[in-house]
């Protein structure tokens, strides 16, 4: 599983960090940190985050 967040689309609402706090972290300086290749254990939370993102900035890619 590979995550790509488009920084031009992301508006730092931070919803993703509610759904997958292990993967997404909106820092105090409002930069978004995320784990690009997270453990599959967090798959559900990451999918939730991608769905909830107001700007739909999160893309999920499954490695072949």
């Amino acid at each position: 599983m590979r995550i790509v967040v488009d920084p031009a689309v992301c508006q730092r609402h931070g919803l993703c960090s509610f759904f997958a706090p292990e993967v997404f972290n909106l820092r105090d300086d409002l930069e978004l940190e995320y784990v690009a290749e997270p453990d599959l254990a967090y798959r559900d939370g990451v999918e939730e985050a991608a769905q909830a993102c107001p700007t739909q900035a999160i893309q999920l890619h499954d490695e072949p």
Binding site: Q11, G14, F18, F19, L26, L30, Q51, A52, P54, Q56
Partner: protein
């Protein structure tokens, strides 16, 4: 067992968003328990109240469309065309993108000194008086001043704009159509914005009205949308935060320990704001339309049905929050739906959070304790919850021990 209670609960619950509820939460609770997919046959309106159902619906804009309107009354006509809350992609994305860069948390954070200064200016005349109307004197004027500053509308026009705003909220109870006084105010505001926009075309400024006018010049939006988008920003930038602030000051009267905790440690205020939003959402509900037959809880909601998502009911879902009817600013942090979810998630959320945080800090430091000093008046529109009047008295600062 109390026979009256049995008789009442044996009846099917009845909910009509045009009935004005001082306290809508008991009927929301009954709907969640007894009729999670409720149908008001008189209005042919479907209603969702459980957290999970509303979260699912709000993430699925294809199956729950906003393109045919999201309010049950005339309100969206006030900012049509150009408001994006009642649009689906791609129109929604095109309009939202004009304002989005200016409402990011990072950009909004820079407004804090300005918001604090305006808040102090608004509070100053009352500091020695010992009384203030927390709804009329601060909850509404502060977001109004901030949104006017962002749009670049002159402070001197504040009273005029405030008057039009108030008139646009006037409703005849139970009636879907807004009264003529509301339309008159809306026309005046439209003319005012159109003239201000024409000025920006001649002479650009460092304000959002210029940003909106430039979006027309670039071909992103139309001339009509310039006015609609500006009014949408003005209207929704005030009604929402004014509701959050006024509701919260009223709710503190029932939960004085929570208020005291916020007064003694301002570090808890951000978490408290989320809890206050959960407890009493300023936008109680918005609706969607089902473009095709949609099955919910085993019932087929026919294509073309209007369905109401009651955010405020979802936020009291006992399945998600234990003792959901209590304010507990220290409870486990869980997402609420007061700002909606999915592509329509409130663009102004960072601004609302900032304004509320500053107002709570400044007001609670001026008056750690206050009590009601007159009648509380609510605004009565079908979707919004907030106060017109919340008069309180407090010990003036120079007399405080």
């Amino acid at each position: 067992m109390n026979p009256t209670e049995t008789a009442v609960s044996a009846e099917r619950p009845h909910y009509d968003p045009f009935s004005f509820y001082d306290d809508p939460y008991p009927i929301y609770a009954r709907l969640r328990r007894e009729a999670p997919l409720y149908h008001n046959a008189d209005r042919d309106l479907w209603v969702l109240t459980r957290f999970g159902d509303i979260q699912d619906a709000s993430r699925n804009w294809q199956a729950f469309s906003s393109g045919n309107g999201v309010v049950l009354d005339d309100e969206s006509e006030f900012y049509a065309p150009g408001g994006f809350v009642d649009q689906d992609p791609p129109s929604h994305d095109r309009l939202r993108a004009v304002l989005a860069p200016y409402f990011s948390p990072k950009t909004i954070k820079q407004l804090e000194p300005h918001v604090r200064q305006r808040t102090r200016e608004l509070l100053a005349p009352f500091a020695e008086e010992g009384h203030i109307d927390l709804a009329a004197d601060i909850a509404r004027p502060l977001p109004a001043a901030v949104i006017c500053m962002l749009l670049g509308l002159p402070t001197v026009d504040g009273p005029l704009l405030g008057d039009w705003f108030a008139k646009m909220l006037e409703r005849i109870p139970g009636q879907i159509e807004a009264p003529e006084s509301s339309w008159e105010a809306n026309r005046a505001l439209r003319n005012y914005i159109a003239e201000a926009a024409a000025e920006r075309r001649r002479e650009p400024k460092d304000d959002l009205l210029t940003v909106i006018v430039n979006a027309q010049r670039d071909g992103t939006i139309t001339q009509d949308e310039v006015v609609g988008l500006s009014i949408f920003m003005f209207y929704s930038g005030i009604i929402t935060t004014a509701g959050l602030i006024s509701n919260s000051f009223l709710n503190f009267l029932q939960f004085p320990k929570q208020r005291a905790a916020m007064t003694s440690d301002s570090a808890v205020i951000p978490a408290a704001i989320e809890e206050l939003l959960r407890y009493d959402a300023p936008i109680q509900s918005l609706s969607r339309l089902t473009p095709s037959d949609t099955e919910i809880h085993g019932t087929v909601v026919p294509a073309g049905s209007r369905i109401l998502l009651v955010w405020a009911a979802a936020n009291r879902d006992e399945e998600r929050w234990p003792e959901a009817d209590e304010i507990d600013i220290f409870r486990e942090r869980k997402r609420h739906l007061a700002f909606g979810e999915g592509i329509h998630y409130c663009i102004g959320a960072p601004l609302a959070r900032l304004e509320a945080a500053v107002v709570f800090q400044e007001v609670l430091s001026l008056m750690p304790e206050y009590e009601l000093d007159g009648d509380v008046t609510r605004i009565y529109t079908p979707h919004e919850r907030g106060l017109e009047k919340l008069p309180v008295r407090f010990t003036p600062s120079q007399l405080a021990a």
